[in-house]
């Protein structure tokens, strides 16, 4: 879908990004992870040409993005940033409608589209359509930010630390909400983050960068279990496996089995806490319950395999 070939950005004598080769697969969420100053944001901004590369090229569906007008390119790519950047003088609906307007789509279609999108991000259109950005909480504002990026139905979404400025509670909720949205829409998402938990939680693949170069590219499992270098191991930390569990629900690991006599945990509990309960209770397995009903059991060995597709998706309350 998107291919970076020998991409390079140089400021004077120093390289912000150097000889970067990456392929972002269609419908996948790739996290650009790394310490601050590693060039991940520069890389992201070179994809929609907010920063012009000094070398190499970016291919979008095989087409060199340099052959397009920057504005045309950007209108076809959703863009979400940490500072959210809603237009304070426009209401929520007008903000969301920005790109369809720029593309000259009929107002009636856009209006319908705005309502759909507000629904999608968990904001009731009737309540939020005419609010001004100043009346929204941080979490609500970024939901609008996501809706605005999706408004013209772009196949690609670039996100620059989208949940970085939110408080932990709002961040968790929005991450869950976004994971559901992504599962439904299957966009090609590239998300810059320095938050390892966020990357492990949301990403199909992680491109870990260091000092302008690619340190490792692979699935979260690859990075945790087969780190390519000491840097990767150190960056993820010794507790990377535990962090990965923290991003999953106990229910994601549950298998059919006999719950009799086992300590119970709620399906919504995260898997790391479930592990903690096992250690506390000295049990090899737990009974996973939802609304009082047992939905399966969770064994110690289950936690060593990461499920690719969590079976249960839960709609969230608006933060």
């Amino acid at each position: 879908m998107i291919e970076l070939q020998g991409l390079e950005k140089r400021y004077g004598d120093s390289f912000a990004v150097r000889d970067l080769n990456l392929v972002f697969a269609e419908g996948e969420l790739t996290a650009l992870l790394g310490p601050s100053g590693c060039g991940k944001t520069t890389t992201l901004r070179m994809i929609n040409r907010l920063i012009e590369p000094t070398g190499g090229r970016v291919l979008l569906r095989g087409q060199d993005t340099h052959t397009l007008k920057p504005e045309t390119l950007r209108r076809g790519i959703g863009y979400v940033i940490q500072q959210i950047g809603l237009f304070p003088h426009l209401n929520v609906a007008q903000n969301v409608a920005t790109v369809p307007d720029l593309l000259g789509r009929p107002a009636r279609d856009t209006e319908r589209r705005v309502d759909e999108l507000l629904d999608l991000v968990g904001l009731s259109p009737a309540e939020y359509r005419f609010k001004k950005p100043a009346e929204l909480s941080g979490g609500q504002a970024q939901r609008v930010g996501v809706a605005r990026a999706l408004a013209a139905d772009p196949p690609v979404l670039l996100m620059d630390e989208p949940f970085g400025a939110l408080d932990p509670l709002a961040r968790d909720k929005l991450q869950d909400a976004f994971r559901d949205i992504q599962r439904r829409l299957k966009k090609t998402v590239i998300m810059v983050t320095h938050d390892i938990d966020e990357a492990l939680r949301l990403a199909d693949r992680i491109a870990l960068m260091n000092a302008g170069e690619l340190a490792q590219f692979g699935t979260p499992d690859d990075l945790i279990h087969r780190p390519a270098s000491d840097f990767v191991r150190q960056f993820l930390g010794e507790d990377a496996a535990l962090r990965q569990l923290a991003g999953r629900r106990a229910a994601d690991f549950a298998h059919p089995g006999d719950p009799a006599g086992l300590p119970t945990v709620d399906a919504q509990l995260d898997a790391r806490s479930a592990l903690g309960i096992m250690l506390r209770e000295g049990a090899d397995a737990l009974a996973v319950t939802q609304a009082g009903e047992s939905i399966g059991i969770l064994r110690w060995s289950d936690l060593q395999t990461i499920p690719m597709q969590p079976p249960i998706s839960i709609r969230d309350e608006v933060t």
Partner: protein, 247 residues
């Protein structure tokens, strides 16, 4: 901003602001022939003969000069503020800010007088002075307003594929508008005062009775001009306050 005007903004948005009419109506009252001389007579400050040209004419001249200047100032000042706030023009912006600072410092009377050798006597040098002096708050507020636009909103606008022109018209100018309008208000109100000085250059207007009164030692005449120009300034301030908050 005082607390009273804050509460007024909060509660009185729908209500028609009757207070705005206070100064204009006082001004109109004073323009009725004979009213001002009769009011000033008990003070025994000097003789007031019939005004030629009549006071309403002086007021209209004054207002016309100020309005014309404000029009030109808008036409020049806004594009100027936009031009120097484009990226990569920091040096030009610094130059504009320095010139604006000088404009605030140099005495109005000096600016007006310096225009006389170039343009001769009458309303022309005064208009030039009003334009130069009126540009100061409009350009400085325009720059301040455009500079204060949230960079993340601009980044988002660029990331969504807005062209420079679209960013300016859809994001920057609407967001800078309140500050810009406040500058226009300041500019207009100050220019009422500057235009009184213009009478010394033969521009006519409400400065004429003041200048004549001062040089003839007729304080009543001074008061006539002073009261009327003060009322005109307060009226314009009140009316423009409907569109622009005070900075």
């Amino acid at each position: 901003m005082t607390s009273s005007s804050l509460t007024a903004a909060r509660t009185g948005r729908r209500r028609w602001p009757w207070g705005v009419l206070l100064w204009p109506s006082l001004l109109l009252l004073c323009l009725i022939p004979g009213v001002l001389p009769r009011l000033l007579a008990p003070l025994n400050l000097g003789e007031l003969t019939a005004f030629d040209p009549p006071l309403w004419r002086l007021t209209l001249t004054h207002l016309g000069l100020v309005a014309l200047a404000t029009g030109v100032v808008l036409g020049l000042g806004v594009p100027l503020a936009v031009a120097v706030t484009r990226p990569g023009r920091v040096a030009l912006r610094q130059l504009a800010e320095t010139l604006v600072g000088l404009g605030q410092t140099v005495p109005t009377f000096a600016i007006l007088a310096l225009a006389v050798p170039a343009l001769g006597f009458g309303w022309k040098p005064t208009l030039l002075g009003l334009i130069v002096y009126g540009l100061v708050p409009v350009v400085s507020n325009g720059i301040a307003g455009l500079q204060s636009v949230d960079t993340s909103a601009l980044d988002a606008a660029r990331g969504m594929g807005m062209t420079g022109r679209q960013r300016l018209l859809r994001v920057e100018l609407p967001l800078a508008l309140p500050v810009l309008l406040a500058g226009v208000r300041t500019s207009t109100v100050y220019n009422v005062g500057t235009a009184t000085v213009g009478a010394a250059l033969g521009a006519g207007g409400l400065g004429e009775p003041i200048i004549n009164g001062l040089s003839q030692q007729n304080t009543a005449l001074v008061l006539v001009g002073a009261v009327l120009s003060a009322l005109l300034a307060l009226s314009l301030d009140a009316v423009l306050g409907l569109f622009a908050p005070r900075t």
